[in-house]
């Protein structure tokens, strides 16, 4: 099933390349590997390869040459070499003999499936080869907590397209629910666990549907009052319920064909919107409604103010409207907004920021930026940060404190689920 | 060939010879004049080519100069000089070559490696030594091409202005058929370029001109020019027609190192000269033809004056030879021919008179011989008659009985002798009365069989053995069976007479070609050659009592049948008569 993501209009992209690129780099906190953890993760592969090499060479001195042609950080090479030498010595192979007739050439390579460590054992004119497939990223999805930024947290990485993912806490159990195109996957961990602790795989529920999904498939997870969550997809509504409490509690998901309107984010207006499952947008018809017809839109969110809340809309034609008191007001300064956004209630500034994606620099993919709506004008209140990929969806959490950002990375394609929040400086 | 023809031929040859001699002299003179003109034209063309070549060379060098100063190549040099990637300029030569209308262009790095080659894109990275000529005048260069061929071009090498490290451009324009096509050669002049790219002569090196054929005939010229490095000239015959021949010059074109890279072949058509020569020849032929006609007329006139009396003499001599002794020729002149005619007439008169005298003497001799024969023949029976009559006279005196006996005996003798006389006279009479044969279709074998049957018993009585050989197939002739029987009978009788003591008589008849050959051979005494010569003369005989008419009759009969008769005899070896009678053609076959 294909997926889609949005970005701001192109004309703004050039500005960002010129003015925002440096700031984006400054704000980007790279994912850092903990050396010790990495060393531990190479122990088993090094041991396995040493065993394979020893079976070819037998005990005795040997020259060991190593090279790295993979995307492994250069700093990993000496670590792996040290581990490999240790394991070889333990097996009777003595690396370091510069005049040995046995040459072991180890190449840290990789392919699409992951790492591939290749050992060539050359004795005279005869060369024998052994290989070992090695996970390129040995950490489990979200297991070690992933990359963390001051504004966003990596929840999980999936190969399959992800529509939405949110964490629901019920009965002392943190449950990460991932809405995919054909299934709902749940992971769980103890609610008291650290953010860096690993998610444990839980359950998988296929999404039954009788009509084909649209190509630009969207889906949203929404917390429900009497059960953990609902999942809304075009023409389908799923309800996640649980029968008990604590870790290991059985969760059940039932999906039915449904044309019911999707609940819009926010707690004040409490509007639902009908979804056009042929065009992947909301029809503009709200329930109970605002007393006026709205044009088709992609996303809506509440902007609270002193007397209530306005409804912010990104229209299908690219415009951004603010519905306030039955009047539709075009928002200026939002020309480079994408279609999806989430309203975050940070308590900073005006109290609500709009997290919107924008096109980033050429090599870094899209960016995220926080905006505030001042009157009819959209004003950026943060520097853009790069997400190293394409933003395919942004969904606000039910309480409005954070948002789920889905980013598609390329080559190979994988989907990262980030939790974004606006922190006060 | 008669005299008149000889005279005609002599006069004609004389005239034709004179005309040919004049035509040849004129033709040679014309050829020399044309050759001189051709040489001048070729020299002019070569000079013009060299001027054109230098012009093109200057144009090429100028184009390279402009290119070396252009922003486009300066930019390339700048980028490369600042560590730019040369590979991105792989196709750089293409637009430059098109812009400057060059057939060849290479952008060459300072180390001599090709960065971009218009003519052979794949040669990037390989070295181009021609950058050694950077800054020098344009030069000839042989360029290898991707299709395995080589071409000759006018090249120039330049260093791009301000390039550091140096960047070179080596460009040129091809010298080929299109180059030569623009070369202003006069009508009738062909200019070819032989590219000296192979060890041995190859017509393909003429490029497109090789397809037209005929260039192979320039081989010796080209070989001479490229081997010696000097110009070579000669007449080349592309076809068997002289009109297609050309006066060709091969001019070697050399590269920077002095090696011959190409040979420029300038070929001036000799058609004009050959056509003038042909015209002269045609005129000569016309004049010669008229001369021959004139010679015929003259010879006819001369024949009238010279050959006609001689021809009359010849005809008269022929008539005399045919027995017309009274033939005479007219005398029309007093020259040697007239004197000859007079001598001829005199000679014929004398011959005629001598012949008359000879006939006269022969007639007398014949009568004498006849008289002698008659006397001789008649004398023989007359003598017994005289004796008998004398006996009878004397017997008158005898008693009657005896007289009767004598009388009866004498009367018998008289009758016998008288009958003998009649026979003799009858023979002479018969000879004079030989009838013409009544020819009918008959088989020659029947005549032989008839004779054998008739004379078989008589031969037996005389102890003569008879041998016959008769052909198995019919031998049809047109003949008179009676006359032929008579002739054969005479021959058989002669043979019997020739063998009084017996012997063998052989009679044969067989086919010999288109005649029926009859032979009558005996084993008698034979005859001398002299006797054989006179054998068929009338009244000649070798016998004591012969009339000499038998064989004469035989010869007459055979002659009347258009046959031949011959005799073969040797003294003591018998005699054989051979008769040949013509067979009837188709009927014989039937």
């Amino acid at each position: 099933m294909p997926d889609a993501r949005y970005n701001p209009p192109q004309r703004m992209m050039d500005k960002l390349r010129l003015s925002g690129w440096g700031a984006a780099l400054v704000c980007l906190v790279a994912v850092l590997w903990v050396p010790a953890a990495r060393a531990a993760s190479w122990e088993q592969p090094a041991s396995d390869l040493a065993r394979q090499i020893a079976s070819l060479t037998g005990p005795g001195p040997a020259r060991l040459l190593m090279q790295n042609v993979s995307t492994l950080p250069a700093g990993d090479l000496p670590v792996i070499r040290r581990l490999l030498e240790q394991d070889l010595r333990r097996l009777g192979v003595l690396p370091g003999g510069s005049d040995s007739a046995t040459l072991i050439r180890v190449t840290l390579s990789e392919n699409l499936q992951g790492g591939l460590w290749v050992a060539e054992v050359q004795e005279g004119t005869e060369t024998r080869v052994t290989m070992l497939a090695v996970p390129l990223a040995p950490a489990a999805p979200g297991g070690s907590g992933g990359a963390i930024t001051i504004r966003r947290t990596l929840l999980i990485t999936e190969d399959a397209p992800v529509l939405d993912a949110k964490i629901f806490v019920t009965g002392g159990v943190q449950r990460l629910v991932v809405l995919e195109q054909e299934q709902i996957v749940t992971w769980e961990r103890n609610a008291a666990a650290l953010a860096t602790d690993a998610w444990m795989p839980d359950q998988t529920f296929p999404i039954a549907h009788t009509r084909p999904f649209p190509r630009d498939l969207r889906g949203e997870l929404v917390a429900a009052a009497d059960h953990p969550f609902d999942a809304w997809l075009p023409g389908v509504a799923c309800h996640g319920t649980e029968a008990g409490a604590g870790v290991g509690t059985a969760l059940s998901v039932t999906c039915v064909d449904s044309d019911d309107p999707w609940p819009l984010a926010g707690t004040m207006l409490r509007q639902t919107a009908f979804y056009n499952d042929l065009r992947d947008n909301f029809t503009g018809i709200l329930a109970p409604g605002l007393g006026m017809d709205l044009p088709p839109f992609y996303e809506a969110g509440e902007i609270p103010h002193e007397t209530g809340a306005s409804l912010l809309l990104t229209l299908v034609d690219g415009r951004v409207l603010l519905m306030d008191g039955g009047v539709a007001k075009p928002v200026t300064g939002a020309n480079d907004w994408g279609s999806d956004f989430a309203v975050l209630r940070s308590g900073c500034g005006s109290g609500a920021q709009v997290l919107v994606s924008g096109s980033g620099a050429a090599a870094a993919g899209d960016s995220l930026r926080a905006w505030e709506i001042a009157g009819r004008e959209a004003v950026p209140v943060s520097a853009p940060i790069s997400v190293d990929g394409a933003v395919t969806a942004i969904w606000a959490s039910t309480d409005g404190a954070s948002a789920t950002v889905i980013v598609r990375r390329e080559a190979p394609v994988r989907y990262e689920v980030w939790n974004g929040s606006a922190l006060c400086n | 060939m008669n005299l008149r023809q000889k005279l005609l031929l002599m006069f004609s040859l004389t005239v034709v010879g004179l005309v040919v001699a004049v035509a040849w002299i004129v033709s040679v003179r014309v050829r020399r004049v044309f050759e001189g003109i051709d040489q001048q034209q070729t020299a002019a063309l070569v000079n013009q080519f060299q001027r054109e070549f230098h012009q093109r060379a200057d144009d090429t060098a100028s184009a390279l100069d402009r290119m070396a100063a252009s922003d486009a190549v300066k930019q390339i040099a700048f980028v490369l000089g600042n560590g730019g990637d040369a590979s991105s300029y792989l196709q750089a030569a293409l637009p430059l070559a098109q812009e400057y209308r060059l057939d060849y262009l290479e952008v060459v790095a300072h180390d001599g490696s090709i960065i971009s080659s218009f003519q052979w894109t794949a040669r990037f990275g390989y070295s181009e030594p021609a950058i050694a000529g950077a800054g020098q005048p344009a030069f000839l260069k042989q360029e290898d091409l991707p299709d395995g061929t080589s071409q000759i071009g006018i090249f120039a090498a330049r260093r791009v202005e301000g390039s550091d490290p140096p960047l070179y451009i080596v460009g040129g324009r091809q010298i080929d058929a299109s180059f030569l096509k623009n070369f202003p050669a006069p009508a009738g002049t062909q200019v070819y370029l032989y590219r000296n790219v192979t060890g041995s002569f190859d017509t393909q090196n003429f490029g497109a001109a090789a397809k037209s054929g005929g260039v192979a005939h320039f081989r010796s010229l080209v070989d001479q020019a490229r081997n010696t490095g000097k110009s070579a000239t000669g007449v080349v015959y592309p076809t068997k027609k002289r009109a297609d021949s050309v006066d060709a010059s091969g001019i070697p074109l050399k590269g920077l190192d002095g090696s011959v890279l190409a040979v420029l072949v300038v070929a001036n058509s000799r058609r004009g000269m050959v056509e003038v020569q042909a015209h002269i020849r045609d005129v000569a032929f016309g004049v010669a033809g008229l001369g021959i006609i004139f010679a015929v007329l003259v010879s006819l006139w001369i024949a009238v004056r010279v050959s006609r009396p001689i021809e009359a003499l010849a005809r008269a001599a022929g008539a005399v030879a045919a027995g017309e002794w009274e033939t005479r020729v007219d005398i029309h002149s007093r020259d040697e021919v007239g004197e000859l005619a007079r001598s001829f007439n005199h000679m014929t008169r004398q011959l005629s008179e001598q012949r008359d005298r000879l006939v006269q003497s022969e007639r007398v001799a014949a009568w004498r011989e006849l008289a002698r024969r008659l006397a001789h023949e008649l004398k023989n029976p007359l003598f017994p008659l005289q004796i008998t009559v004398e006996n009878m006279v004397r017997a008158r005196r005898l008693p009657a009985r005896e007289f009767d006996e004598v009388f009866i005996e004498s009367a018998a003798t008289l009758q016998t002798e008288i009958a003998n006389l009649k026979t003799i006279i009858g023979r002479f009479s018969d000879f004079s009365k030989m009838p013409k044969p009544q020819a009918i279709e008959m088989d020659a074998r029947e005549s032989v069989r008839r004779v054998v049957k008739l004379y078989g018993p008589a031969l037996e009585e005389r102890h003569i053995q008879l041998g016959t050989s008769i052909a198995s197939e019919p031998l049809l002739i047109l003949g008179d069976s009676e006359l032929l029987h008579r002739a054969l009978s005479n021959l058989v009788l002669n043979a019997m007479d020739a063998m009084p003591k017996g012997g063998t008589l052989t009679i044969s008849v067989a086919r010999a070609g288109d005649v029926a050959r009859l032979a009558v051979a005996d084993t008698g005494e034979g005859m001398t050659p002299e006797e054989c010569e006179r054998l068929f003369t009338p009244y000649y005989t070798t016998r004591q009592h012969g009339t000499g008419l038998g064989l004469a009759i035989v010869q007459s009969v055979i002659a009347d049948h258009h046959g031949t008769i011959a005799v073969e005899s040797a003294e003591g070896g018998g005699t054989r008569f051979l008769i040949g009678l013509p067979l009837m053609g188709d009927k014989v076959e039937a």
């Binding site: 099933m1 294909p2 889609a4 993501r5 949005y6 970005n7 209009p9 192109q10 992209m13 042609v69 995307t71 190449t107 390579s109 990789e110 392919n111 699409l112 499936q113 591939l116 290749v118 060539e120 080869v129 052994t130 290989m131 497939a133 190969d159 054909e182 009788t210 084909p212 999904f213 190509r215 630009d216 498939l217 992947d280 947008n281 299908v316 690219g318 994408g338 279609s339 999806d340 096109s359 980033g360 050429a362 090599a363 870094a364 993919g365 899209d366 394409a390 390329e410 080559a411 190979p412 394609v413 | 990637d85 590979s87 792989l90 794949a122 040669r123 990037f124 990275g125 299709d147 395995g148």
Partner: protein
């Protein structure tokens, strides 16, 4: 190698960001121009749009459900059962049944057997059971799902007029003004495509394609690998695939190169670096392997070094004459590469002439450009063996087995891999969300148009 791969990835990213706008809109007509034939086997673009396969492959080569929602292997990979996705219909409304799949695949096999080189179907028997398709083979086929993801095994049928019908996102509507016309399949099981229609203009030169792109007459055009750098210089929105086309020299094992040493000499004489750096403008990955390094991870084990001295020594005194090197197609780049190889071989003492036109009959040396569709090492090696007409299939998927199989094929030196090159496309300003399949084909169904409503 890795650097180039990263660059390619970045180029894709450039394309994506450069084209990114709002969420994809529906509607509009996408105009695509290509050099070849949209129906050409096995990777014609129209086939991609009209037909589907039982499975697809992810970027990592993992088989993903498509027309089949799941599959199971039995009897040590000798028997496979593929369960079809329910509710899928052909573009004419006929349901996709297991029988239809069997018929379509049997057609593929019968057509493939007549192809040159023959395309072998790895199964002995195929039958329909309910909504499942059963494949039975004599040898283990561990990578059958990935194999069935190849476009060669797309499920198609023809109606009475000969029009090809599939289950894909677009259906054929006609051919007008030199363009193949396709319309969106509203009932596509994978969702209606964003564009209402697609026009594919075949047989367009690259120059014309770029011209049409620049003036807005085309939305998606091809960019040959050697033109990627100029395209970057012209700031075209590029999508560059990973290496998917193998340039290889095939040597006929008979004739002048019947001796293996002669073939070795040829292999040692070729200069891959020049091909990659100059002719392919650094957009290729030199290789001596049938699989790209990024796919197999072990391609570096096959040496790409040039050794002229060794080549001359192996040639000995032999100087075969009349040797023709022909390029497989009329591409100017391929011809240029052939000329370069002829120069290389000339240095080693071989007199080789480059054919001016593609040879109809096999020549002693043939320069081929072979497309790789599979994205998993085992399936890819299987595919390459078939493309080069080699016997045998891959029965084990571990890297060592694959390497041994490949080494066994290459040590005959009848195939000399030279260069892996990517495929690239340039998209117009109004095209959004265009991405590439793993084999470099554009995912047209996922692209949308900026101006559409």
């Amino acid at each position: 190698m890795a650097r180039r791969f990263v660059i390619s990835v970045l180029l894709v990213a450039v394309a994506l960001t450069a084209q990114a706008r709002t969420r994809p809109h529906y509607g509009g007509t996408l105009r695509i121009e290509i050099q070849g034939d949209p129906w050409q086997m096995p990777d014609g673009l129209a086939r991609r749009l009209v037909l589907d396969t039982l499975a697809t492959v992810s970027d990592t080569g993992t088989a993903q459900p498509a027309l089949a929602v799941r599959w199971t292997a039995q009897n040590a990979d000798h028997r496979w059962e593929f369960t079809l996705r329910p509710g899928v219909r052909f573009q004419d409304g006929a349901p996709l049944t297991a029988e239809a799949v069997v018929t379509a695949l049997n057609d593929v096999c019968s057509r493939g057997a007549a192809a040159n080189p023959p395309m072998a179907c790895p199964w002995r028997m195929i039958r329909a059971v309910g909504d499942s398709v059963i494949f039975v083979s004599d040898t283990a086929v561990p990578d059958l799902p990935a194999l069935l993801a190849q476009e060669s095994f797309a499920i198609a049928r023809q109606d009475t007029s000969g029009t090809i019908i599939g289950t894909g996102p677009f259906r054929v509507t006609g051919f007008a003004n030199g363009a193949l016309l396709l319309a969106a399949n509203d009932d596509c099981w994978a969702g209606r495509p964003f564009a209402d229609s697609v026009e594919i203009h075949p047989h367009r030169t690259v120059r014309d394609q770029w011209l049409d792109l620049s003036v807005g007459r085309a939305d998606i055009v091809e960019v040959p690998p050697e033109m990627i750098r100029p395209a970057q210089q012209q700031h075209l929105s590029l999508l560059v695939s990973r290496p998917v086309d193998l340039l290889a020299l095939t040597i006929a094992p008979n004739g002048p190169f019947s001796g293996r040493e002669m073939r070795q000499a040829i292999a040692l004489a070729v200069d891959r670096a020049a091909l990659s750096n100059v002719i392919f403008q650094k957009q290729g990955e030199v290789t001596a392997s049938l699989l790209p390094q990024a796919l197999s991870g072990y391609a570096f084990l096959f040496s790409t070094d040039r050794n002229l001295d060794r080549a001359r020594a192996l040639r000995g005194g032999a100087s075969p004459t009349g040797v023709i090197l022909s390029a497989e197609d009329t591409s100017a780049t391929l011809h240029l590469a052939a000329e370069r190889l002829a120069l290389n071989l000339h240095e080693a003492g071989f007199a080789v002439r480059v054919a001016t036109t593609p040879a109809r009959q096999p020549t002693a040396l043939t320069l081929r450009r072979v497309h790789l569709e599979a994205a998993s090492p085992a399936a890819a090696l299987d595919e390459m063996l078939a493309r080069f007409g080699q016997n045998g299939t891959v029965t084990a998927t571990d890297p060592v087995s694959l390497w041994q199989t490949e080494r066994g094929v290459l040590e005959n030196d009848t195939i000399v891999p030279l260069l892996w090159s990517p495929r690239a496309w340039a998209a117009g300003d109004r095209v959004r969300d265009l991405r590439l399949w793993p084999d470099g084909a554009p995912r047209v169904a996922d692209a949308s148009l900026e101006g559409a409503k």
